[in-house]
Symmetry: C2
Subunit: 322 residues, 2 copies
């Protein structure tokens, strides 16, 4: 049996039985709507799996896992306003279905609801959970700001880019996992390792996402291929290609960015990225973070066979097409 | 000496020595800017005064008082976006000086920073502080949503209006005061009374604000007189006048709302509000909340003379012009 299924089943049942207050309708309806759109629920599963890894139970970690999922959805609702995104998981975004004001305020209340879930955990764990959650939440906001800033900046280095994705998406995976460790009273060193596993996994996943956007199987990837390059998005591929082009005084990438014919632009990008060794660079960088993730997991002081569920999840996330 | 001064001095020194991180600049500059605009800092002073009332110290309550001030400023930054307000404390609002996206995200991080301050309090108090803060924060959002909803609703009852101001502004005063009580290990009954003092004080203050908008001394009030009626804002005065007009089948208030000449509109409003007994109704309602506030304060099980600072603050807030 799929080792992830029991965790998914447990979490889905819990989140489906959670209800927001009825009124004010314009505050809570958007949240009921948005959370019903589903998604992979990777983050809360990490919390539940980590709790079990350290010999606690899913039940004991349920509120912390809800907090993580609520926080993630809060950040999506607000990010969608900033990105002017029309769709999320194939459905209308909150700011489009209602309006910006409602998306701001219902996002705010969802962030607070995340803290409310956290406060339902055993009181002895609350100070540690709260401190980690605060730190993580601040970092996610910093990552989102960096991402927005990058749009209007000419030069972004690879390390700045990796720092941005670390903050914007990876620290929350680390936090979700460390939550389980805190609840299970794991020691400081194991807490660090499980956090590091999540953070490295997150960076690897984001780099993979950049690669798949151009090289993935459209059916398996579930998105339009080449969307990033068509919008000149600063992915690790484009940033590395820019660096390479500058080094050899080529203006090929500048020309690429000006292209408007979609099919031609995607084909040219693929050709240039191969030429500049950008794809193998990105894959190698991704594998480095993947190795670091597994190394951190390996170091955790519980029997290796107990780690199979998390290894299965890492494989599910990372070995898709590459 | 003014009994409030030592609290103000203490808090100003603390908040002035607080610094946000430097980068990302677009995330933190707006916060440094907004918090430097000052304001009366009523809410954090309530926390500090309450801590002393129950025989703790200002120092022991400082982080909780910062949390309250940060939360209040977070709500102002986001409300200003929703209200499209150009000015706050005579200076440009964040969404105007920067943009909406930056105002959303820096508001978000300020809310998280409030929780970060809370997490700095003694661990034994954190679960209780967190639970109260979450409840209050949710209610403030609910109040803001009700306020926005009221704009497009024909009929708003007086009790709905009072419920809205209770949530939007008064519960935070109750929370600020109860924070001090929690930190000072006050008992459950005293916690309830000090919360009730703050909540009733808050409602009385908001009703007074409605009255002063039309009847205040422009110099002392510090705002343009009649702003509410010029924008047809549903204050307690207008809502009560509408009720009275409907009862006697008069369309005078409907006519008032259509008027466009400012001077004439303000004069007509004053005349109609007197005629309908609206002003005395509002003053009596305000005094009722004021009495309830002082009654709650009276019931607290500490010597009456220790309550003088809070009484002085209540007098400062409430006996301005009426």
């Amino acid at each position: 049996m799929n080792p992830i299924q029991p965790f998914s089943d447990f979490f889905e049942e819990e989140i489906n039985s959670y209800t927001f207050p009825i009124t004010p309708i314009n505050l809570y309806d958007p949240l009921t709507y948005f959370l019903s759109l589903g998604g992979k629920r990777i983050r809360p599963l990490l919390t539940l799996m980590s709790a079990e890894l350290f010999n606690s139970t899913k039940r004991e970690a349920i509120h912390a896992s809800m907090a993580v999922e609520f926080f993630h959805n809060f950040s999506l609702i607000h990010d969608d306003i900033m990105d002017k995104a029309p769709l999320r998981r194939g459905k209308e975004t909150v700011h489009l279905k209602w309006n910006d004001d409602i998306a701001i305020l219902s996002g705010d209340v969802l962030l607070i609801k995340a803290y409310q879930e956290l406060a339902k955990q055993n009181a002895v764990h609350i100070p540690a959970l709260l401190t980690l959650f605060n730190q993580t939440a601040v970092e996610v906001c910093e990552g989102q700001q960096m991402d927005m800033d990058f749009e209007s900046v000419e030069q972004v280095s690879i390390s700045e880019y990796i720092e941005m994705i670390r903050l914007k998406t990876s620290v929350l995976l680390g936090c979700a996992l460390e939550f389980g460790a805190i609840i299970a009273n794991a020691d400081e060193s194991d807490r660090k390792h499980i956090y590091s596993f999540g953070q490295n996994l997150g960076v690897a996943f984001q780099i993979q996402d950049d690669i798949l956007d151009l090289y993935g199987d459209p059916e398996k990837f579930g998105k339009q291929i080449g969307g990033d390059i068509l919008s000149n998005k600063k992915t690790i591929l484009l940033l590395k290609a820019k660096e390479a082009a500058i080094n050899i005084n080529s203006n090929s990438i500048q020309e690429l960015l000006k292209m408007t014919d979609s099919e031609n632009k995607i084909a040219t990008a693929k050709q240039l990225f191969e030429e500049f060794g950008v794809v193998s660079f990105a894959k190698e960088t991704m594998r480095e973070f993947q190795r670091n993730a597994l190394e951190s997991l390996h170091r955790i002081s519980v029997p290796q066979e107990q780690k199979q569920t998390l290894i299965a999840l890492a494989e599910l996330l990372l070995i898709r097409e590459i």
